[in-house]
C-alpha cells in the first residue's frame, strides 16, 4: 500500500506545458472516474489550478507507480509522455504527504503565504469526494492537510502583512482612519496603480471619490466606474480640503502638491488628519509636506519597503512552518503505518502457518495409525507454538507503528524471514 503524487507546478513547468496538462473544473470528475476504472481499488484526488496540476493516489494492491500515473496523464490528455514527463515530479509515501502539506500551507506557492491555495485544495478534495474516488486514506490525508494549513497560518506569520504596494497603502490608511465610508478619496492622475488602491479602499467601504487628471475624459471614466466625481485638473487645490486620503501618480516632472496647499487644506479641515500617498516617480507631493501636523505622507519607496519587509517576515517564518508540517507528517505517517501493519502482520502469520502446515503434512504419513484425537493434539500444539512465537513481533510491530517506525520494522521482519512482497519482487 503506497501513496503517490505526480504533478507539475510553476517551478517545474512553463505555462505552455501546464495548460496542456491542466484539468478544467468539469473534466476533473471525468478524469477521476476514468482513473478509478483503470485502478479499481485505488483512491485519487486531482488538484488542478493555474499554478499546478497534481494527482494524489493510493492503492492497496501496489499497482500504482510513477509510470502508471504518467501514463494516465498521457492517455487522458492524448499527449505523448515525452512531451511533459521531464517536467513532472513524483513523490511517494512520506514525501507525498509532506508535499501536499507544503502545497496546502502555501509554502509551495508563487506568492508565499497566499490563502487561495487552501480553498483550492479543499475544492479538489470535495470534487473527489463527490466523485466517490476518496477512501479512508485520502480522506484522512486531505482533511489533515487542511488542518495543517490552518495551523500554519494561525501559528506563524507566513500569511501576515501585505506584500503588494497597493494593499500596503490600504494597511496604512486603516491605521489613520477607522472606516472609509465617510471619507473622501482624492485620486490625482488616473493611473493603474491609483485605481488599484482606490479599488481596495472601495472594497473596504469607501464611498466618495474625486478624480483629477490632466486628461479629463480619463478622469471621468475612472470616476464613473467608482461612482465618483471627476474634476478639472486646474481646480485641484480647491478640492484638497475635502480629501481625507490623497493618492497621487501623475506624470508631472515637478511636484503638483506643495506645502502651502496642504497647510491651508489642514487648516480648513480644522486639523482632521490627511493621508497622502504619492506613488509617482518623480514625486508629486513636496516631501516637506510630511512635516505638517496631522499629515501623513508616504511615497512609493516607503510602501515598497513595507511590502519587502513583510515578504521578508514571511520568509523568516518558513522554518517554523516546516516544524509544524514535519510534526504533522510524522503523525500522519504513524497513522498510515499502523494501517499498513495489520496486513503485514497477517502476512507474517500466514507465512509461519504455511510452514507449520507443510511440516504437519510431512509428519502425518510418518506417524502411521494414530488416533484422531492424538493428531488433533499435535496440530494444536504446533499452532500454539507458532502463535506464541508470533505474539511478540506482532505486539512490537503495532507499538512501532504508533511511534512511526512500523514500516521499517515490518520490512526488517520480512527480510529476516524471507517473505517477499509483490512490489519488492517487481523491483
Amino acid at each position: 500500500m503506497n501513496l503517490h503524487t505526480v504533478g507539475l507546478n510553476h517551478d517545474s513547468a512553463p505555462v505552455e506545458i501546464r495548460e496542456k496538462i491542466a484539468f478544467s473544473a468539469s473534466s476533473v470528475p471525468i478524469a477521476l472516474s476514468s482513473f478509478t476504472q483503470s485502478f479499481p481499488l485505488s483512491e485519487a484526488v486531482i488538484l488542478s489550478t493555474c499554478n499546478r496540476v497534481e494527482i494524489y493516489a493510493t492503492s492497496p494492491d501496489n499497482t500504482l507507480s510513477k509510470e502508471a500515473l504518467l501514463d494516465f496523464f498521457s492517455a487522458f490528455h492524448g499527449l505523448p509522455k515525452e512531451k511533459f514527463a521531464d517536467h513532472m515530479y513524483h513523490h511517494q509515501d512520506m514525501n507525498a504527504v509532506r508535499h501536499l502539506f507544503f502545497v496546502a500551507s502555501s509554502l509551495n506557492s508563487g506568492v508565499l503565504g497566499e490563502t487561495q491555495i487552501i480553498s483550492q485544495v479543499k475544492e479538489a478534495y470535495m470534487t473527489a469526494t463527490a466523485a466517490e474516488t476518496t477512501g479512508s486514506i485520502l480522506n484522512q490525508l486531505f482533511q489533515r492537510s487542511l488542518n495543517v494549513a490552518k495551523d500554519v497560518h494561525t501559528k506563524t506569520s507566513i500569511g501576515k502583512g501585505n506584500i503588494s504596494v497597493s494593499t500596503v497603502a490600504v494597511d496604512l490608511a486603516i491605521k489613520v482612519f477607522k472606516d472609509f465610508s465617510d471619507k473622501t478619496i482624492f485620486i490625482i492622475g488616473a493611473g493603474e496603480m491609483c485605481e488599484l488602491v482606490l479599488k481596495h479602499l472601495v472594497e473596504r467601504g469607501a464611498k466618495t471619490a474625486i478624480v483629477a487628471n490632466r486628461n479629463y475624459d480619463k478622469a471621468k471614466s475612472l470616476a464613473e466606474e467608482y461612482d465618483g466625481k471627476a474634476i478639472n485638473y486646474e481646480n485641484l487645490d480647491d478640492y484638497l480640503p475635502q480629501a481625507d486620503i490623497v493618492i497621487s501618480s501623475t506624470a508631472s516632472p515637478r511636484p503638483v502638491i506643495h506645502t502651502e496647499h496642504i497647510k491651508s487644506a489642514i487648516k480648513a479641515r480644522r486639523g482632521n488628519p490627511m493621508l497622502l500617498i504619492d506613488i509617482a516617480v518623480p514625486r508629486d507631493i513636496d516631501s516637506q509636506v510630511a512635516k505638517i501636523d496631522n499629515v501623513y505622507l508616504y511615497n512609493i519607496d516607503d510602501l515598497q519597503t513595507v511590502a519587502n519587509n513583510n515578504a521578508k517576515d514571511r520568509k523568516k517564518d518558513i522554518g517554523n512552518c516546516v516544524v509544524i508540517i514535519d510534526n504533522e507528517v510524522e503523525k500522519f505517517m504513524a497513522w498510515f503505518e499502523e494501517l499498513k501493519i495489520g496486513p503485514a502482520i497477517a502476512q507474517l502469520r500466514n507465512h509461519f502457518h504455511e510452514i507449520g502446515e507443510q511440516e504437519l503434512e510431512r509428519l502425518r504419513p510418518k506417524l502411521g495409525e494414530i488416533a484422531h484425537e492424538e493428531w488433533e493434539h499435535i496440530v494444536y500444539s504446533m499452532q500454539r507454538t507458532l502463535n506464541k512465537i508470533l505474539h511478540k513481533p506482532a505486539k512490537v510491530g503495532k507499538e512501532k507503528a504508533k511511534n512511526g517506525g512500523g514500516y521499517q520494522y515490518v520490512e526488517t521482519i520480512k527480510h529476516l524471514f524471507g517473505i517477499h512482497h509483490k512490489d519488492e519482487t517487481k523491483k
Partner: protein, 300 residues
Amino acid sequence: MINLLSPIQYIFIAAIVLYILDSVWEVGSLFRPGTFSKRLSNYFILTGLSFHCAFLIVVSIRSGTLPITTLFESSTFYLSLIVLLSVILKFLYRLQALTPFVMPIVTGFSIASIALIRNDLALTYNLKTFWLFAHIIPLFLGYASFTVSFIFSIMYLTQERQLKKKSFGPLFESLPSLETLDALMWKTITLGFPLLTIGLVSGTVWAKTSNILGLLWYLDPKVTLGALTWLIYAAILHLRLGASFHGTRVAIVTIAGFVIVILTFIGPFLMGHKHGYDKGSVKLEQEIEPEPPGIEKVKS
C-alpha cells in the same frame, strides 16, 4: 512590612500579583502573540480585578462606608475603577491594545500604594452622609475616566509618532487607527467631565452646609486644584468643539489634564497638607474635599 499586613490586605496583594502577571502577558502579547496568549491575559485581568473588588467590598463592609477612609483605600478604589473601565472598553470595542498600556501603569501604582498601607492618615469626620457618596462616587469615576483618556492620548501619540517616523513594528500593528483613538479619547473625556462637575458641585454644597473644611474652604489646595482640573477639561471640550484643534494637540492637552488630576489626588498629601486626610489621632475639624466656587461661574 508585608508581615504586618492584615489578612484582608493579602487579598489586595493577590490582586497585585495577578496584575503583574497580566502586565507581562498584555505587553508580551503585543510583541509575541504566540508565546503570550490573549486568553490567559484575559483570565489574569479578570481574576485580578475580582480580587481587587473583593478587597474593596470587604473593606467597605467593615467600615460601613466607601473604601476611602484612608489614603491607601482611596488609591486602591481609584485604581480598581480604572481597571474596571478599561476592561469594559476592551470588551466593548474589542480593543486588544488598551490593557497593555493600562495595566503596567495600574500595576505600578498598585505596588506604590502598598507603601501607604501603614500610613495612618485617615478621614475622621462623618463618613456616612449622603454627601460623601454624592461627592466621592462621581469624582472617582470622573478621575478614572480621565485616566483612561490619558492612556488613550498616550496611545494616540505613540501611533502618530510611528506613522510619522514610518516605523511599522508589532506595536504599530496592535494599535488601532488614529481616528479610533481620537474618538475614544473624546468619549472618555466627555464621560469624565459631567462626573467631575457633579462631584465638584456636591462637594461645594457639602463644604458650605457642613463647614467641614472651615470658613476658608475654597482656599484648600484640593479644592483649588479640583477647580483647575475642571477648567482644563472645560478648555479641551471648548477647543475641540469650537476651534481647529484635533489629533495631536488634543492628545497633548489631555496629558496635561491628567497631570493635574494626579496632582489633585495626591499633591496636597505630598505637600504635607492634610486636605481631607488627617492623622487619625488628632481630631481636626475637617475632611473630605469639596470644590471651588469659581467653578460654577465658569460653567455658566
